[in-house]
Structure formats: C-alpha cells, structure tokens
Symmetry: C2
Subunit: 204 residues, 2 copies
C-alpha cells in the first residue's frame, strides 16, 4: 500500500479540482482523459475513480466549482455609484478585469455555450448567473428605461467577452496591437461606445 498523499478526502478532491479545472478549460471534456487528470494530480486512475464515480461527474463538479468561485466576485461588481454613467463605467471596468484575470472561467463558459446540453445550461443560468444577470438588467433598465433590458445586458457582457475571446486572433488582424489586450483599454473602449455610440465614441 502506498503512503497516503492526502490525509482527508476533501483535501484530495480540492487538489483534483485545482489540477482538473485548467485542463478542462484548456482542452475541453473530450480533450482531457482521466489519465491526464490523475497524472497531473500525482495519483493513479483508480484513486481518481475513488473520489468521482465517472468522468462526466468529475467534469460537472469542476464546472460547478469554477463557477461558484466566480459568483461572489460578480456580485461585488454591481454596487451602487453616484450617477448611472458612473455605475456603467464602474461595472464595465470591474467586469472586464474579473473576466480577464480568469481564463479558466471564461473558457469553461464558452465551452458550455458550445457543448452544454439544455439541462446543464438551465442549471448554469439559474444557479450561477441569474442573480448577477438580474443586476445587469437592472442597471440597463436604469440607463435605458425605454429599451429591452435583457438584450442590453447581453450586449454589455458580450462587448467585453468578445474582446477577450478574440485575443489570440486579433494580433493577426489589421490594426491589432498588444495594448488592445489590456483590460483597462478594453473597458475604456467599451464604456465610451456604450455611453456615446459609435459616432461619438472618441469624444469624452
């Protein structure tokens, strides 16, 4: 019998999450084998199966773990500021930084949009995003009462996320520069665009 690497089960499980989440975020469900995960953790496949009944369950628990850790940070983003414009500016800046600093979360989310079945997306929407998304629609409602706040909330999040999502290819597209990947630069561009529209975007 090999010496126990972890003294408690939850210690082992946490280490498995720590190693597996970046792997799944990087290569996706089908791109990561139980062997990969076990090797990364430094345990055998059998031990991995001792902690999780199957690969599907391991993956889902990783998703839950990665998203649960993020829900708290998203809540802080929507604190009240003086004016609606300040609220928007503050939200975009914090949201951009939060998404930029955690590629794992962002990539897992993108992968779920592509591969998640209806049940999984429903759980994700209800249990992880609902409260935060409601906060964004409320902000949109304050800023533009005459507008569809659901569409506006999607637009606000999408502007930020698409800039981050396209980071690896933008350097090869006309006009792409390194500073375009700076969260502060992205946040400033998105805020100006949202506040003024495309025609007056360069003005302050």
């Amino acid at each position: 019998m090999a010496r126990a690497k972890f003294s408690t089960s939850s210690e082992a499980v946490n280490t498995i999450f720590y190693e597996a989440i970046p792997l799944f975020a990087q290569s996706g469900f089908n791109g990561v084998s139980m062997r990969h995960v076990a090797t990364a953790v430094g345990i055998s496949i059998a031990t991995l199966y001792h902690h999780f009944p199957d690969k599907q369950t391991l993956y889902l628990r990783c998703i839950e773990e990665a998203f649960a850790n993020k829900a708290g940070g998203l809540s802080e983003v929507l604190t009240k500021q003086s004016s609606p414009e300040e609220q928007l500016k503050h939200f975009i800046y914090r949201f951009t930084c939060l998404m930029a600093e955690d590629d794992n979360f962002r990539r897992l989310f993108q992968r779920e949009l592509l591969d998640g079945d209806e049940t999984r997306l429903q759980v994700l929407a209800k249990d992880v995003f609902q409260i935060q998304f409601k906060g964004i629609t409320d902000l949109a409602q304050t800023l533009a009462p005459q507008c569809d706040s659901h569409m506006m909330a999607i637009s606000m999040a999408g502007l930020v996320l698409f800039h981050l999502e396209t980071t690896p290819i933008r350097q090869f597209l006309p006009g792409g520069r390194a500073e375009h990947n700076d969260p502060e630069f992205i946040a400033e561009h998105v805020t100006k665009l949202l506040l003024n529209g495309v025609m007056k975007c360069g003005n302050d």
Copy 2:
C-alpha cells in the same frame, strides 16, 4: 469489391466535407472520430483514409472549406450605401443574417478561438478574415474617425456574434424571450445601440 459509391474522387471528397463539417462544428475535433465521419458518409474507415492522409488534415480541410464558402458572402456585405448610418445599418443586418443562418461556420469559428494554435489562427486571419475585416475597419473609420477602428470593428462583430452565441442559454436568463433570437430583432437592437449608445437606444 464493393460497387463504387462515387464516380470521381472530388465527388467523394465533397460528400465527406458535407457530412464532416456539421459533425466537427457540433462536437469538435476530439468529439468526432474517423469512424463517425465514415459512417455518416456511408463508407469505410479505409476509404476515408484513401481521401485524407490523417484526421488532422481532414479537420483542417473542413475548416478551410467551411470558411471559404463564407468569405464570398461577407464581401457582399460591405457594399457602399448612401450615408454612413445606412452603411452601418445595412452591414449589421446582413452580417447578422449571414451568421444566424450558418451555425456550422459560427461554431467552427468559436471552436478555433478556443482550440486553434497560433499557426492555424494566423492562417485563418490572413487567408479568410483579413479582407472582410479590413472592410469593417474602413467602415468604422468612416463612422468614427477619431476612434480605434480595430477595436470598433471587433465590437461591431462581437455584439452580433455574442447574441447568437448565447442563444441556448438566454431562454433561461431573466427577460429572455423567443423573439430575441430573431436575426432581424438582434440586428435592430445592435444597430440602435451602435448609433445612439445605451442611453438613447430606444429612440429612433
């Protein structure tokens, strides 16, 4: 010897593309086996390998094929209209319809953003998107000369694509309604947002 299903090699190859592209778009490179493709086409694995040397090459040729078919459609989108506002409105509408009607193309693009290595993204940018993207930056330059046209072009495309990308989860988020998935509805929302900004988005 089995009777020949296809009379020419290119006929077989085209049928392989026709079956393989939706499979790769749906499940990704690692989610589709050569067996799956061969079965979908109605040929054996060995026959598939007669037409493509390996799986990697098949996948890359599928990407090229799917994207080549789209490049033409994107060119038409940037025809000159009377005013810059009309140009923008026309571009957003055509771009939205084009992306909405071809899930395969859009999903393959999203997957490449997640999984494509630097070489593949460079080829994609230079050979597929460069000309079209240059057209969008030119439009952005016309609309907002004082603005970073690269950032603005990304924002314009991102607004449309993120609405399409989040279609499967939006129905579970607060305020989500079926008509939010209508390309015309999306195009109208995005156009208004770009032209007026968030504060005046509901006005015409």
